[in-house]
């Protein structure tokens, strides 16, 4: 989907500073949010691609305002309510009780976990068909638009590059996130020149990005 998460090339976010003394978790609740976020995938019967898509579906205001681990809390809540583990509003009601308000908590809903069989652990999967492209081939990232999950960022769509390497084949996030099948595909690292992406005035650089075969066409 064309959401706030697709940040490559966006402008206006300012600069970034490195804190050399940054702890692994800056706040106690960051660590709890991280662990709960990881666990939420198993508890909701979903997967990592569904987790990423839940992050993408957060309201753009929340995505930015809640910060990184705030997004994990919200994302876990999305997965757990979608799968019927928690009722919509359950987290907010409990939070308000914790803050001392008198709030009725909603009853647990009917379970609604996805019925979905994994093809194995992790994301790497064999593909029987030979790869359509080889290192050195000129390819164009297709101008695909979807309101669902994809790992084809907006900034490369419609742009032409060169296949740099064939990587291990893997399940397709676009369907796996929606429990519509793993659909393993070949994966390629494709190199784009910065002027192809950002115009003639671009800083000299090469951009290398991993793209699934169905994202690409011969150029």
């Amino acid at each position: 989907m064309d959401g706030i998460h697709d940040m490559g090339g966006m402008q206006g976010f300012g600069s970034v500073a490195i804190d050399p003394d940054e702890p692994v978790f800056r706040k106690e609740w960051h660590s709890r949010a991280f662990a709960i976020g990881i666990m939420s995938m198993g508890v909701s019967g979903t997967n990592l691609d569904a987790f990423r898509h839940a992050l993408e579906r957060l309201h753009p205001y929340d995505y930015l305002a809640d910060g990184y681990y705030g997004r994990w809390v919200a994302c876990a809540e999305v997965l757990l309510t979608d799968s019927g583990v928690l009722a919509p509003g359950a987290v907010e009601a409990r939070a308000r009780k914790l803050m001392g308000e008198q709030v009725d908590e909603p009853a647990d809903p009917e379970p609604n976990k996805p019925v979905y069989e994994r093809g194995g652990p992790g994301s790497l999967r064999p593909v029987d068909d030979p790869p359509a492209f080889a290192a050195g081939d000129r390819v164009r990232a297709r101008d695909l638009r979807t309101s669902g999950h994809t790992r084809l960022p907006g900034y490369v769509r419609g742009r032409t590059g060169t296949v740099s390497a064939l990587r291990p084949s893997a399940l397709l996030p676009d369907t796996n996130a929606h429990f519509e099948g793993e659909n393993p595909q070949h994966v390629y690292t494709v190199e784009f020149d910065s002027t192809e992406l950002w115009g003639d005035g671009a800083e000299p650089a090469a951009l290398l990005i991993d793209l699934f075969e169905s994202y690409l066409e011969a150029a």
Binding site: G8, M10, Q11, I18, F25, R32, I36, P173, A206, L211
Partner: protein
């Protein structure tokens, strides 16, 4: 669009995190001690000290360096590092002529087994948006000035390959042991936003 609330008078996210943990614990769906163990692993056992061992070994053992560049996953596993977010590792080498830097523009993909969890700057919208578009300028702002004739290569980890930058061994560190060399290697150098300095 999300049905969840935004803005307004939402409870603070730290309280929502506490509420979420309580709801799941009460239902027996998570055990606090399992969460504790998971957190402890990432605070104490997994982090850039792992990647630093890989880099120092590559600097002192050229056969290992070759294996690392040819099959990063296997060479890194030789040192005992593997697991989620490191399923397929690709090691990219910085040289006098080429500087590599890694990003995940879409989320926060990062090679956990060798670097642990990503720092705030890696997850910052400014880094995710700009390193693919203004890499030289942004690296300069982050304290790394590159020569004009250095080729900059930016790697966007958009699938399940995970990238580790093999930084250049600094001049002036000739006599150091592998262990002492590992102590020089920083997380930032293994992502590609810094170089390794001699002691």
């Amino acid at each position: 669009m999300s049905e969840h609330s935004h803005g307004g008078d939402r409870p603070p996210v730290s309280v929502r995190a506490e509420a979420l943990e309580a709801l799941l614990t009460e239902r027996g769906l998570v055990k606090p001690e399992v969460l504790d163990g998971f957190i402890s692993r990432f605070v104490n056992d997994v982090g850039p000290m792992n990647g630093a061992k890989v880099v120092a070994k590559a600097w002192t053992d050229d056969d290992y360096r070759q294996r690392l560049l040819e099959d990063g996953t296997a060479a890194i596993a030789e040192l005992g590092f593997s697991g989620p977010q490191g399923e397929h590792m690709v090691v990219i080498e910085n040289t006098d002529d080429v500087h590599n830097v890694v990003v995940c523009t879409l989320c926060s993909c990062y090679p956990w087994p060798v670097l642990g969890l990503p720092p705030e700057w890696y997850k910052d919208p400014a880094y995710r948006s700009r390193i693919v578009r203004d890499p030289r300028t942004l690296l300069g702002e982050m304290g790394l000035d590159l020569d004009d004739d250095t080729e900059v290569r930016v790697w966007d980890s958009s699938a399940e390959n995970r990238y580790l930058v093999l930084p250049q061994r600094p001049d002036g560190a000739e006599g150091l042991s592998e262990e002492d060399l590992a102590g020089l290697v920083t997380r930032d150098a293994m992502v590609g936003v810094a170089k390794v300095s001699a002691p």
